[in-house]
Symmetry: none
Amino acid sequence: MNATIAVVEDEEDILELIEYHLEKEGYESIGFLSTKNLSSVLEEEKIDLLIMDRNLPGTEGSEFVAALRAKGINTPVIYLTAKNKESDIEEGFVSGGDDYITKPFNIKELMLRIKALLKRTQTNTTEGCLRYRDITLNLGSREVHIEETPIDLTKLEFDLLCTLINNQNIVLSREYLLDHVWGTDEIFQDRTVNVAINRLKEKIDPDKSKEYIKTVRGVGYTLC
Amino acid sequence: MNATIAVVEDEEDILELIEYHLEKEGYESIGFLSTKNLSSVLEEEKIDLLIMDRNLPGTEGSEFVAALRAKGINTPVIYLTAKNKESDIEEGFVSGGDDYITKPFNIKELMLRIKALLKRTQTNTTEGCLRYRDITLNLGSREVHIEETPIDLTKLEFDLLCTLINNQNIVLSREYLLDHVWGTDEIFQDRTVNVAINRLKEKIDPDKSKEYIKTVRGVGYTLC
DNA sequence: ACCCCTTGTGATTTTATTATAACACAAGAT
DNA sequence: ATCTTGTGTTATAATAAAATCACAAGGGGT
C-alpha cells in the first residue's frame, strides 16, 4: 500500500542518505547509481515517484525523462541537482519534471516535497481506509482485503463490518445494529442480524480460525 | 482558456513584478495586498492557482489556506516567503500548499513552478488526454479511441466517462453522478443513471468482454 | 418544418441480496 | 437427565436493485 519510490543518484552516500530517509518515512525505495536497468523497472514495477539526479555520468537525467515521456510513462519526477542556472531549471521543467530541488538540499524539504507530490498524484487510493487486524476496508472503493487477498462483500455486509470496526470492544446489540446498519424506518427481526453476521463471518473467516467477531450471549456481537 | 492566478503579497512592488510577469506569460492575474476580499473572490471566480505570501501583516498566509481547505476550497497554492526554517516549510506543506518558494526568489523559477503546477492540476479539466486501460479521451476534441479505433460518444456519455475515469477506484453513487454529470438544478431519477451507464457500456464494450465499468449493487458504479 | 439524435422515463425481465422460517446444536437452568 | 433458551446453519421465499427494452419528448441541424 505504501508508495514505491525510485532514486537515481550516482553519489553513493547521497543515495544511501535518501534511501534511509525514504524508508524511515515508510516508503519502499529502490536505488540506482545510473539510469541503467531503470527503464525496465519503471515499466514492470509500480513506481509512484522518481527522484532523479540530473548530473549523471553519461546520459543527462532530463534526457532520460524526456525519453520516458515519449514512451508514455508518466511517473512523476522530482529533479535533484547542483545546477541552478535558469536555463537548467527550465530544461528540467520542460522535459516533464514535476518538481525541482537544488543541492545542497535540505533532506526534510525533499521529504515534504515528496509527500506533497504524492498527495497530488496518488489521488484517493490510500486514504479513507479502515483497518482491523489483517482486514482493510477501503471506504472509497468499498474494497475489502484480508492480508492482500481481496474479499467480496455485499453492501449490507460491508456496512455491518464498518460498524463493528468503528465500535471495537463495544458489544453491539442486535437492536443497535438494526438501527444503525439497516436503517431506522423498517422493522426486522433480531434473527436477521444473526444470519447477516454469520454470512459475514463465513466470508471473512471461512475456516473459523481467526475469530474476528465474538458473540456475547444474550447481548449481541463485538469485535475485540 | 488561460489560467487565472490570484497573488497575495503585501509588498506592492513585488506584487507588481509578479503580476507583470504573469501577464507576460499570458495568465490572467488578480493581485491582493492582503487576504481581505480574497475569500469571496475565490468562491465566486474561477481561480486556478493562488500565490500566497506567508508573511502578511495580520493573518498568517498558511492559516488562511487552512481555513480555505476547511471550507472545501482546494485551489492549488504556491507559497512565497522569506521564511526558510524547516518548521515553516513543514507548516506550509501541511496546511495544504502544493509548492513553496523562498525569497529572494528567481522570477523565472516561479513562472516555471507555476507552469508545472498548472500542468498537474489542469490536466483533467482543460487540455490533454485522459487514459484508462485502452481507452483514450481527448478532452479538447472530445474524441474517444479504444485501441486506435474511434468511438462516438454523446456529450452525456463523454462527461460520464470522464467523471468515472477521474474517480477511478472510487464507487460513485447515482446521486453523485447526477450532481456532477447532469448538473445540479434539475431533478432526475436514479434509474436515469442506469440507462446512461448501460448506453455507455454498450458503446465502449459491445461484447461485454472488457468489463470497464463495475456496478456495485446498492451503492453505484466504479471504474477499477 | 422536418428529420434525426439524444435522453429521460415507464414497463418488464433478470439478477442478486436478504429476510424469514425451520431445524440443529450447545450451554445453562431446573 | 431433560427442558429451556440463544445462536448457528441451511434452505427457500420475498424483495430490492439493476439491466433491458420501448417509447416519447425535446433539441439541433439541415
